[in-house]
């Protein structure tokens, strides 16, 4: 059940060598035989206990690195229960600080999403989040040409009901005037080049 690196040799200098170079340069290194660890543990019969559910899930995995279901591990992540019980989530009942939730639609996507504009520091972070959420990429923003070179353009509906290109106005102004977002595709988007 051991990893293939031979710990049994007394002077296994290679195994004990602490390389400060980047990892991944030695082909002999292997991932932990995750399955080996899983197979060692017999399945406890207390199915109601959260911890054992995690183990039974892992049992069925052979060589994938299947991490235990996060929500079901007792005592993980290791945060004091006082903190767990008392940390107010950001979107709580604070009179002055409602999260700035706006709908985000993307042309062609089956359903809309909602994001809290308040958690982003600025445009780059927001755009990165949108790219990640909808799995697309966006070009570089320029004042003259908008998001040139990409199939999509991020737009928003402002307080006046107009559809604007994301990125033209200062971030704070954008945050207070943005009512909803729409990721426009293709030909429609081209018409929103800024400054025209």
């Amino acid at each position: 059940m051991e990893s293939k690196v031979a710990y049994d040799n007394d002077l296994n200098l290679k195994a004990t060598e602490l390389r400060l170079g980047l990892p991944g340069t030695d082909d002999r290194e292997e991932q932990t035989l995750f399955s080996a660890r899983n197979n060692k543990r017999p399945l406890p019969d207390t199915s109601k206990e959260c911890g054992s559910k995690k183990k039974s899930d892992a049992q069925h995995v052979d060589n994938e690195t299947a991490p235990p279901t996060k929500a079901q591990i007792v005592g993980w992540p290791p945060i004091r229960s006082y903190r767990k019980n008392n940390l107010q989530p950001k979107k709580s009942d604070q009179a002055e600080v409602a999260g700035i939730y706006v709908k985000v639609s993307m042309d062609g996507a089956p359903y809309l999403r909602k994001i809290d504009l308040g958690i982003y520091q600025g445009y780059p972070e927001l755009l990165k989040a949108l790219e990640s959420m909808f799995k697309f990429t966006i070009g570089e923003y320029s004042e003259r040409e908008g998001y040139k070179g990409s199939e999509y353009a991020p737009t928003y509906e402002d307080k006046d009901g107009d559809w604007m290109l994301v990125g033209d106005v200062p971030w704070d102004m954008f945050m207070s005037s943005c009512k909803r977002l729409r990721i426009m595709k293709g030909s429609e988007a081209r018409g929103l080049g800024c400054g025209v």
């Binding site: 990893s3 710990y7 207390t46 591990i73 290791p78 008392n86 604070q94 308040g118 982003y120």
Partner: protein
């Protein structure tokens, strides 16, 4: 040394302050042992079951300050059942029946009842300081007794305790004659507070240096308090919400300008970010900032605040600060020594907003960093290697990658090399917590390089018994080892049984140790208590091969404890 009268020795020992040094002094010879114990005033007991109150009282008749710790560390994460133990009552009973004039009691992870608090308050005439951290079992009734009866109370510090709040009358129990308060922290109380009583108490406490309020104290009251106590050094705000255009807020802005001594700031349990500018003037003086419960401050507001805190030495923050926010910390807080980044999503099912990039930025910008607690989305070996090079001074390094057994996302390798670099570079490392995908190799490195390591926490790591053995063999100064969900079995447990008498305790849960293995250990080492926690009645007596779900062993002078509940078997 025989030529010196005892008083001279005692005077010399006065300069020996740390517990370790005094313990060492007491081992030199009988004379030194006697002089030391008669003059010792402060005692630290890391495990309340390692000895009895009677032993303590007999040895240190001059005891003035006692620190006691009860439950194992993993009790913080709900791994130890309720009613496991850790009661302070026997200690308070014994102390109250003795001649000891205890003045200070500091408890961590213990069960404290109202009865205990009442007994304490009535029997210790000179009692001055009560500090309770992560304790439970008491209510505001017990606090009322402390307030009412401890005539010389200087410090009442309640940190992260679960307290049943039966209303805020306890504050009114401080008599008018009580003017000695230096430190008052009730931030963890959940209920209402008698605000008028609080203001009067502050007004008659000229020595008040530290005040941490709970959620029920509104901004108006904060304003009034700060007016009467501009000398505060440590402030924890309660609710920090108001209309920034109001008269009250305006007054607060002016009052805060007079509070030039504030160095520690915390709280903001509820917050309106638009009111934050009022505290900007004191930011430059801050050496310690705890925003780890301030979920309402995030994004640009948080960054704006941090940019003003150039002298910070300690920062506790939520991960919503993000990698970008940590870059701001790195460029602003050049004096930073301790950083804790907590997850804002406490269920751990979402995304932590920080990654290895934030940590690398911090390590580059804050070379004085020596203590770290970092909950993150992911970590790479490359990043850890850079961090190790930038910050060789780590004393405490605790990394928690939220997803267990997650490998380096770039190379898909285990994080052995990264942590290996940390232990090799940080020669003063005393505490280490591991996470992510790890093989036996990381433990080989730890055993080889972590010479000063005293506490190690391991979860979901390693491939075989060798991992645990590398650590037990290599880390000569190891005192506490806690392991969960690792494949270590009887061979690892039993290879070096003598080691456990050099340690305070060992915790193993969801590993491969068996009942037979634990019994063997208990038999060979009579001065250890080997406790099995049989939580759901899973264990059958007599079946030696069955796995033990939770085992906790510790060295002790007094044998099996008499207060163990039914589900705890001492083998």
């Amino acid at each position: 040394m025989n030529y010196f009268p005892d008083e001279v020795l005692e005077h010399v020992f006065d300069f020996v302050a740390s517990h370790r040094d005094r313990n060492a002094v007491s081992l030199v010879c009988r004379l030194w042992h006697r002089v030391e114990r008669l003059s010792r005033q402060r005692v630290f007991v890391g495990n309340c079951y390692a000895l009895s109150p009677e032993i303590l009282i007999a040895r240190f008749p001059g005891l003035k300050s006692l620190t006691l710790k009860g439950k194992p560390h993993f009790a913080d994460f709900n791994l130890v059942p309720h009613d496991w133990g850790g009661y302070v009552q026997p200690w308070i009973e014994a102390l109250s029946n003795s001649r000891i004039g205890l003045e200070e009691l500091r408890l961590k992870r213990m069960v404290v009842s109202d009865e205990s608090l009442e007994l304490l308050s009535r029997s210790l005439a000179n009692f001055k300081s009560l500090v309770l951290v992560s304790c439970e079992g008491f209510t505001t009734v017990g606090l009322a007794a402390i307030a009412a009866n401890c005539r010389f109370l200087r410090e009442l510090d309640l940190q992260e305790n679960e307290i049943d709040d039966h209303s805020g009358h306890w504050l009114s129990c401080f008599p008018d004659s009580c003017t000695s308060l230096i430190s008052l922290n009730f931030a963890c109380l959940k209920g209402e507070i008698n605000l008028a009583a609080l203001e009067r108490l502050v007004a008659r406490s000229p020595n008040l240096r530290s005040l941490r309020l709970n959620r029920a104290v509104p901004l108006e009251t904060l304003q009034n308090i700060l007016m009467r106590a501009p000398q505060l050094v440590d402030l924890g705000t309660g609710s920090y919400i108001h209309d920034p255009d109001s008269e009250t807020y305006n007054k607060l802005k002016h009052t805060i300008l007079k509070c030039k001594s504030i160095r520690n700031l915390s709280g903001f349990l509820e917050v309106a970010p638009r009111c934050l500018p009022a505290i900007y003037p004191i930011c430059l003086n801050l050496t310690s900032l705890n925003l780890s419960y301030a979920a309402g401050i995030h994004g640009s507001e948080l960054v704006k605040l941090i940019r003003r805190c150039a002298k910070l030495q300690r920062l506790w923050i939520l991960d919503c600060i993000g990698d970008k926010g940590l870059e701001v910390v790195a460029s602003t807080c050049k004096e930073l020594q301790e950083l804790r980044v907590f997850p804002s999503d406490v269920l751990g099912v979402g995304h932590a907003a920080v990654t290895e990039n934030g940590l690398v930025a911090i390590s580059a910008g804050c070379p004085k960093l020596h203590s770290l607690l970092y909950f993150c989305q992911q970590m790479t070996n490359a990043a850890l290697i850079v961090v190790a090079k930038n910050c060789p001074n780590f004393i405490r390094f605790r990394l928690c990658i939220l997803e267990p057994t997650k490998p380096d996302p770039v190379t898909m390798q285990p994080l052995d090399d990264g942590f290996g670099a940390i232990v090799q570079s940080c020669k003063h490392l005393r505490r280490l917590s591991l996470s992510g995908l790890l093989t036996d190799r990381v433990f080989l490195y730890i055993g080889m390089y972590a010479e000063q390591l005293e506490m190690l926490s391991v979860a979901f790591a390693g491939d075989s018994d060798k991992g645990m053995l590398y650590v037990l063999n290599g880390c000569k100064k190891l005192r506490k080892l806690e392991i969960r969900d690792c494949p270590y079995g009887d061979k690892a447990l039993l290879t070096d049984v003598g080691k456990y008498e050099t340690m305070r305790s060992l915790w193993m849960s969801s590993c491969e140790v068996t009942l037979g293995g634990c019994k063997t250990l208990a038999k060979e080492m009579p001065r250890l208590n080997v406790e099995i926690i049989n939580e759901h009645d899973q264990m059958e007596i007599g079946s030696e091969e069955q796995r033990v779900e939770k085992m906790y062993l510790y060295r002790t002078l007094v044998g099996p404890r008499k207060d163990a509940p039914e589900f705890v078997w001492t083998l």
